[in-house]
């Protein structure tokens, strides 16, 4: 624009002709000639609302095999009506999703440890053993220790290993002549034994405790057996709760279950005990590789610890304890001299924890049990 021209401002042509590219493109787009038009241009025109891109889908349809002029919905499942009317023949059924889980039935469950107990119980019963009456948690020191030739100053009778009862503090009834014989063998020996040569005190024997082993019941049963007119061989077992006042940790509680088996007969040998233990572990736990190690128990001699080879850990682990009861225990009861009593035992918790891979015993026993593991626990096949 020239503002200073004569006769007022004048607008002059700056260039001779213009080329309206947008107009040209729009014309071409109208006839769908898309070549030469960049995406950038298309985007700009769309922004300026000059063009709109519309997608049109075309389908070719033909009649399929299931073509029908009427509407039908696929069924979820057969119903009683369909069956009686035969309508199922005309229906289509939704396919099942076999990948999905089913609905778990509402069930009750048995406790994993007690399932293991049932298996051990069965093993013993199958081997001809009789179950001892172990329904007495409270025991006198006499039956728990003294009758078993465990001396009165033994560490295990300490307050830090044993739970003593404050009420009722003392037991008040004992077979007195037997008690005298026990006193004699502790303090002076006899029956071929040196004895412990200390002052045996009735006061100490009367003290009530929570039993530290079910061997106390075995002692009672052997005493009863010895009172029979004539000796008959016996095979006894028990699986029940015992109590130890020891330090608690991830694998130890104050109470646990002891499994015990014993055989009383004439002429039993150490080889018999080993063979019996072998059969027992084979039948109950499917273990066939076991070794024996010399050990010490106050009431058995010889004593043996039982080890089995753990394939997973690749080492020998202790699985139980065993021994031949000492004459100092059996002879004062009145059992015949060539009757030998062989016995072995283990805890119920240990094989259970190993089998189910449980590290902390509190997840298995007691109120802090994880109920989900109880719900999910499989049938108890110990040999697996």
């Amino acid at each position: 624009m020239d503002k200073k021209a004569a006769g007022g401002p004048r607008v002059c042509r700056k260039i001779d002709s213009i080329e309206d590219i947008v107009q040209q493109c729009l014309n071409r787009l109208q006839t769908l000639q898309l070549d030469g038009i960049t995406d950038q241009q298309k985007a700009e025109y769309k922004k300026r609302k000059l063009i709109a891109e519309v997608k049109i889908n075309k389908f070719y349809i033909t009649k399929g095999s299931n073509f029908s002029l009427s509407l039908s919905k696929p069924e979820a499942d057969l119903t009683a009506d369909m069956i009686s009317s035969g309508a199922w023949k005309q229906k289509t059924f939704k396919p099942y999703n076999f990948e999905a889980r089913g609905i778990l039935p509402a069930s009750g469950h048995l406790h994993p440890l007690l399932k293991v107990r049932s298996q051990f119980r069965q093993s013993f019963l199958q081997m001809g053993f009789t179950e001892m009456p172990t329904n007495n948690f409270i025991e006198s020191s006499f039956w728990n220790f003294d009758a078993l030739f465990q001396p009165q100053q033994h560490p295990a009778r300490d307050a830090h290993d044993t739970f003593f009862v404050s009420d009722p503090q003392y037991a008040h009834e004992f077979p007195m002549d037997y008690l005298e014989r026990v006193k004699e063998i502790h303090s002076h020996g006899g029956h071929g034994s040196q004895g412990y040569k200390y002052d045996w005190k009735l006061e100490e024997a009367k003290k009530n405790i929570l039993r530290t082993h079910t061997t106390a019941v075995s002692a009672r049963m052997l005493y009863k057996l010895a009172q029979q007119e004539e000796f008959t061989p016996k095979k006894y077992f028990s699986i029940d709760r015992v109590f130890r006042n020891e330090t608690l940790d991830a694998t130890h509680l104050a109470e646990f279950h002891q499994v015990e088996g014993l055989v009383a007969d004439y002429g039993l040998t150490l080889g018999d005990l080993m063979g019996l233990i072998n059969e027992f572990f084979k039948s109950s736990l499917g273990i066939d590789k076991i070794r024996f190690k010399p050990a010490y128990n106050p009431y058995t001699e010889p004593s043996m610890e039982v080890f089995s080879y753990h394939e997973g850990l690749k080492k020998w682990v202790e699985v139980g304890n065993s021994g031949v009861f000492r004459p100092e225990m059996l002879l004062p009861m009145g059992l015949p001299e060539d009757v030998q009593v062989i016995a072995w035992g283990l805890s119920l918790e240990r094989p259970t924890m190993i089998k189910y891979g449980i590290d902390n015993i509190r997840e298995l026993v007691g109120p802090k049990v994880n109920l989900q593991t109880v719900y999910d626990n499989p049938i108890c096949r110990l040999e697996k």
Partner: protein, 590 residues
């Protein structure tokens, strides 16, 4: 099981052979020991006292070996090595000899009557011309510690005192005097203290304070002093500093005071037997004379060797092996029980040395034959005992019944037999007195105050720990509770109880009642008020919500309760949903 720690290199040096850890483990297994741990002094101190205290400790390998609790002769390196070398037949078992002093009279220890009330017995002996090294000195102290801890029952039965004989002058007096009259410089201190002050001083000592109660409240304290009034020791607490033994000590006077004479003799025999290997006259121990209050004089150490005769055939029979008399004698000799064949090969004369106090009966000898033979060399046989099995009736019923209770949709739990007084008292809105519970004298925590008198608290605690589980929670337990019972010889008895709980948005009395009906059906007890039948009737019980509690009657006798739990009980057990429960005495019903 007692454990000893021995430096591996010292051990192998003494054994005259190097083993790998596995080989030594195998040797231990054969002998009846257990190689518990392969560690170092540094690790041990770090574990017990913290890694800062372990800074300067040695890193040399230490074997921690577990030793049978009745083998006092294996509680130190010397004894262990001796046992293993004899076992491997590298040496013969030493012969311990009690000898008269080469010059002069035997050392004398006179026991005064006053000791009778507090610590009546004492024994003594002398180790002559000893040569200690740092290792053997430490071992000597360690062995006393181990013996104190084990057979001496933490010094309460026997206390050992060892003294440099050249610093003291006999005869020695063992007396008991009022604490105020006792004054001496104890081991490790620079000034004198009275016994009263020592009680005060050591009450803060982590090691010694445990022994103070043994004599603290007695009117007189034991005291041993020499002819010049020098105090040797105040057993069982502490020795005097004057007579302490050092690396330079050549002659050791050993005294053991005790409340159990047999154990004192065993301890003395063990200590002198094991360390007499360092005497110039090897394995000889100089006797000492102990004069008792009644005037009698006894010479110690006893070092008695005794003989047991065993029949070869009987040993073979007991074990199920077939050793000849000669090989059996050799096996026993390997176990430090020197034996010879007598009576034409039918019997063995077995010598039991003073260091084998664990041998009480022929069965101990039989075990040693088995160990030397090798337990795992014994053939496994099956006993011919033929018996028919029998179940204990209440266990049989329990095992059958619990299957069907689980089938009825309830989940079994296993709870503790011990609980707190509150669990059966206050938390159930009842009194502890009414429970007739058995009380524990020495519980470590409040969780073990009594034996449970009902299964209910255990189940409620289980629900509380599993609150996040989907509802309903239907739990049961069939197990023993304990109640006092004067009729039983021990004054208490177990009862087999059955308890079931339904925890849900609604209490579900009808669910629990239904379970009771099902249980009775399973036990073949018909409904009805007759001789044989069961029924429920309204009852008042503080544990249950008023108007929603019933008593279960079987054959006209009450056997249990069921109902909706009182909200306060729920709150006390940290539960927030309503709950119905059933508990019956199964033993009374079957």
């Amino acid at each position: 099981m007692p454990t000893i720690g021995v430096e591996r290199d010292l051990l192998f040096g003494a054994l005259g052979k190097r083993y790998t850890d596995e080989q030594f483990d195998e040797l231990c297994f054969e002998f009846g020991l257990e190689l518990d741990e392969v560690t170092s002094e540094k690790n041990l101190i770090a574990r017990e006292q913290g890694s800062d205290k372990a800074e300067d400790a040695s890193e040399t390998t230490v074997y921690k070996i577990e030793v049978p609790a009745n083998r006092y002769d294996l509680l130190c390196l010397e004894g262990l090595v001796r046992g293993l070398l004899v076992f491997k037949e590298k040496i013969e078992a030493p012969r311990y000899r009690r000898v008269e002093p080469k010059a002069g009279d035997p050392q004398q220890l006179i026991i005064k009557p006053a000791t009778g009330t507090v610590r009546p017995h004492a024994v003594a002996a002398v180790l002559r011309n000893i040569k200690f090294t740092k290792e053997s000195y430490n071992s000597f102290i360690d062995l006393q510690d181990k013996l104190h801890h084990n057979i001496c029952r933490k010094r309460s039965l026997v206390a050992i005192g060892t003294h440099d004989l050249d610093t003291i002058q006999g005869p020695f007096i063992y007396d008991a005097q009022p604490p105020a009259n006792i004054k001496f410089r104890p081991l490790g201190q620079t000034k004198e203290y009275s016994a009263v002050e020592l009680m005060e001083l050591y009450s803060g000592d982590s090691h010694l304070r445990h022994y103070l109660p043994i004599i603290r409240d007695k009117p007189v304290y034991p005291i041993i002093y020499d002819s010049r009034g020098v105090v040797l020791s105040m057993p069982p607490i502490i020795n005097g500093d004057h007579s302490k033994i050092t690396l330079n000590t050549k002659n050791v006077f050993i005294e053991c005071t005790a409340t159990d004479l047999t154990k004192a003799k065993i301890v003395l025999d063990t200590l002198v037997g094991l360390f007499s290997e360092y005497s110039a006259d090897k394995y000889s121990i100089e006797l000492a004379e102990v004069t008792r209050p009644d005037g009698s004089i006894v010479q110690y150490p006893e070092l008695s060797y005794r003989h047991e005769i065993v029949a070869v055939e009987q040993v073979n029979k007991r074990l199920g092996i077939n050793e000849s008399a000669e090989s059996m004698a050799r096996l026993l000799t390997k176990m430090c029980l020197s034996s010879e064949v007598i009576e034409g090969g039918s019997k063995l004369k077995v010598e039991v040395p003073p260091t084998r106090a664990d041998v009480l009966h022929a069965c101990d000898i039989i075990e040693d034959v088995a160990i030397a033979h090798g337990y795992n060399n014994i053939q496994k046989t099956i006993p011919k005992t033929n018996c028919f099995s029998k179940q204990f009736p209440i266990n049989k019923v329990t095992d059958l019944l619990r299957q069907d209770i689980a089938a009825a949709g309830f989940t079994e739990v296993l709870t503790f037999a011990l609980c707190s007084r509150d669990d059966v008292g206050d938390k159930l809105r009842k009194t502890i007195e009414g429970a007739h519970a058995v009380h524990i004298a020495n519980p470590k925590t409040a969780e073990f105050q009594i034996a449970r008198t009902t299964l209910l608290p255990g189940i409620l605690k289980t629900i509380s720990s599993n609150r996040k589980m989907p509802l309903p929670l239907k739990l049961f337990e069939m197990s023993d509770i304990v109640k006092q019972d004067k009729e039983k010889d021990v004054g208490a008895r177990n009862h087999r109880y059955f308890c079931a709980v339904n925890y849900n948005k609604t209490p579900g009395f009808e669910v629990i009642h239904g379970l009771l009906d099902r249980t009775m059906q399973l036990l073949e007890i018909p409904p009805g008020q007759g001789q044989e039948g069961y029924y429920i009737r309204d009852a008042q019980d503080p544990t249950f919500f008023p108007g929603r509690c019933a008593e279960v009657m079987v054959s006209g006798r009450p056997v249990g309760r069921l109902g909706v739990l009182h909200p306060e009980v729920l709150t006390k057990f940290d539960l927030n949903m309503p709950c119905a429960a059933l508990e019956i005495d199964l033993g009374a019903v079957v």
